[in-house]
């Protein structure tokens, strides 16, 4: 989808072919992204290291890393990068690839959360209560217990609704056919 770059093969080529991935070629490994990242200290590989690893062709390690799931999408790296690399977009692209290849890290619950989120998003609307419940049931139901004070605070003020927003049947059908078509298009590739 992105630019195909002459001379870059394998994993680098694959990343360059994703929208937002082509920028890795011009990275000078200055580490500004890592320095700017509010979360870099907890990553298994720093953001700039991820780029270096992609360029070294370390596909499995990159896609199985925790780092790509620790991106907060705050774009601070992108704003400060002196080379115009959008590290945020790259992390998203890598996340998608990791999911597609079945390599998404199991050391973090983020991929699971993303899957549950996307399940509801694709249905047209996100019911926060059901989304949270489903996520905790799928990952670690016990974790939900310690959230009781938070949930209570929200519930008391009418901020956790049992009602779900529903699209009109026609809109729902329209959305479904668009998404079905998208799956069909993707399947052809």
């Amino acid at each position: 989808m992105g630019a195909t770059v002459a001379g870059s093969k394998g994993f680098v080529g694959e990343i360059c072919g994703l929208p937002g991935g082509e920028a890795i070629l011009t990275c000078v490994q200055c580490g500004t992204c890592t320095g700017a990242c509010p979360n870099a200290d907890r990553m298994d590989y720093t953001p700039s290291q991820i780029i270096a690893m992609v360029r070294a062709g370390l596909k499995e390690e990159v896609l199985a890393s925790r780092a790509i799931w620790y991106c907060l999408s705050c774009y601070l790296c992108t704003v400060r990068c002196p080379r115009g690399v959008s590290q945020t977009r790259l992390m998203h692209a890598l996340g998608y690839l990791a999911m597609k290849e079945g390599l998404a890290s199991r050391q973090t619950a983020t991929p699971a959360m993303y899957r549950v989120f996307s399940h509801y998003a694709r249905a047209g609307s996100l019911p926060e209560l059901w989304f949270m419940l489903r996520f905790y049931l799928k990952t670690n139901p016990l974790r939900a217990l310690h959230l009781i004070p938070v949930a209570w605070g929200l519930l008391r003020r009418g901020r956790l609704s049992l009602r779900t927003r529903r699209l009109s049947p026609a809109a729902r059908k329209q959305l479904d056919s668009i998404l079905q078509k998208a799956i069909a298009i993707r399947g052809k590739e």
């Binding site: 580490g31 500004t32 890592t34 700017a36």
Partner: protein, 453 residues
């Protein structure tokens, strides 16, 4: 500078600006606007009393904001001529007619509030432009906190501080007067950065090393950090200097600083500036608590470089510096014959390179002078006056002002010494009166027929 001034063949016009250039190689006419100093430099003895007595204080440009100057002042200690000027934007006498103190105290009666600017015209054969660079202002890079944290300073400010005749008498000091115990020097501030200047400023690695060396010399025991992307130390003796500074115990960290903050995490950081950087060699984010941060700022083109390029009919590169005739084979000449460039107005460079380029430019001028004749382009345009309809379309086309209109004859004329042979006029001439030699319409038409056979 002083020996330039005393040379019998050199006329120095300081505090002056070129406003107009006409003519061509061997025959330039240059208009220069001499700004009024309000001080008669032939009478002034340079005693300095006026500066002492002047009650108006403003921020000193030369000291990069680290000191104050008066409204009547000598811009910098080595200024030539060493005569003060009155700053008309701040002098209350010139603004409101009040004060006049400097005139009263001047024993040589050199103060003259009535001076007006004058324009002089110079005829010359060649021109060398050496208009230099402007230091990049890091204020827009809010992540480094310049302007927010008083002890984040620019390279020029550090340079002034370390100078014996500077505002601190050569002492490196924090704003509260203490000496810093730790200093971080941040490379590539505004250089190698798509948001500001894409190019490498070339001199920052070396001056940053010099700063580290000076810090160790002036403040033994001071901890110095160099935060760099790449160390670029190409040049005679440069790598050796790098090694020497390494031996002095400077902490080199390979990584570009992402941020400077004063938000402390823990006791050791309290009251310090904290530089956040990825040490890319160990792949870890580091927080460096320091007293002072020096920003190694880029060398940027002068703000008015576009205007200067227009006046002298030369071009600029995409980065804003003046365009040389050929990047490898002729980095001294410009696309306009007889106009040469030297120093940082062409691209960032260090002192040895600037000296070499300046000497080369002088030699090129001397070569032209000693030959006494100039070669012109052979592929110039010429006008068939019989066919010229006098419509003046071509006049606006010529970027070199080589075409003039002969009013009595009602025809356009081309000055072949100025014409560079681009052919734009020939393409525009509605009556076909202009021929572009070696690229005539007939020649090109036949060529088109030929290649399309």
């Amino acid at each position: 500078m002083a020996s330039v001034r005393s040379h019998e063949n050199i006329t120095l016009l300081s505090y002056s600006e070129v406003t107009e250039v006409s003519g061509y190689a061997g025959n330039f006419r240059v208009k220069v606007r001499k700004k009024p100093r309000y001080v008669d430099s032939t009478k002034c003895t340079g005693c300095g009393t006026c500066q002492e007595k002047c009650p108006i204080q403003v921020t000193s440009e030369f000291e990069a904001g680290l000191a104050r100057r008066k409204a009547i002042y000598i811009p910098f200690p080595q200024a030539v001529p060493n005569v003060p000027v009155i700053d008309p934007a701040h002098c209350t006498y010139l603004l409101k007619g009040k004060c006049g103190l400097c005139k009263r105290v001047c024993e040589a009666a050199a103060i003259d509030y009535t001076q007006k600017e004058e324009t002089v015209e110079i005829e010359c054969g060649n021109i060398i432009l050496a208009t230099g660079f402007e230091p990049f202002d890091p204020t827009p890079m809010v992540e480094f906190g310049y302007g927010r944290y008083p002890n984040v300073i620019t390279a020029i400010q550090f340079e002034r501080m370390s100078n014996a005749s500077g505002p601190t008498g050569g002492k490196i000091l924090l704003r509260d007067g203490r000496a810093p115990q730790s200093v971080a020097i941040l490379h590539c501030v505004g250089s190698r950065d798509e948001r500001y200047h894409k190019y490498c400023s070339r001199v920052c690695c070396m001056y940053s090393l010099k700063f580290a060396h000076l810090l160790h010399e002036k403040l033994p025991g001071c901890e110095v950090f160099q935060l760099y992307i790449d160390m670029r130390c190409a040049g005679s003796g440069y790598e050796e200097f790098y090694e020497r500074v390494q031996r002095e115990g400077v902490n080199f960290i390979r990584g570009r600083a992402a941020e400077v903050t004063d938000i402390a995490e823990g006791e050791s950081e309290r009251g310090k500036l904290i530089v956040i950087v990825e040490d890319t060699l160990i792949r870890r984010r580091r927080r460096l608590p320091v007293d002072m941060v020096v920003l190694s700022t880029a060398l940027a083109p002068q703000a008015d470089a576009g205007e200067v390029a227009r006046i002298f009919s030369i071009s600029r590169k995409a980065d804003g510096f003046f365009l040389e005739k050929h990047p490898k084979l002729d980095p001294i000449a410009t696309s306009t014959d007889g106009i040469f460039i030297a120093g940082c107005c062409q691209s960032p460079k260090d002192i040895p390179d600037t000296v070499a380029q300046a000497a080369a430019a002088a030699a090129r001028v001397l070569a032209l002078i000693s030959r006494g004749i100039v070669e012109t382009e052979s592929a110039t345009a010429c006008i068939d006056e019989k066919r010229c309809g006098g419509c003046k379309t071509c006049l606006g086309m010529c970027p070199y002002k080589a075409i003039t209109f002969d009013e009595p004859a009602k025809v356009a004329r081309i000055n072949e010494a100025l014409c560079k042979g681009c052919g734009t006029c020939a393409a525009a001439c509605p009556s076909g009166a202009i021929t572009s030699r070696h690229f005539t319409a007939e020649e090109i038409m036949s060529e088109i027929e030929g290649v399309l056979l």
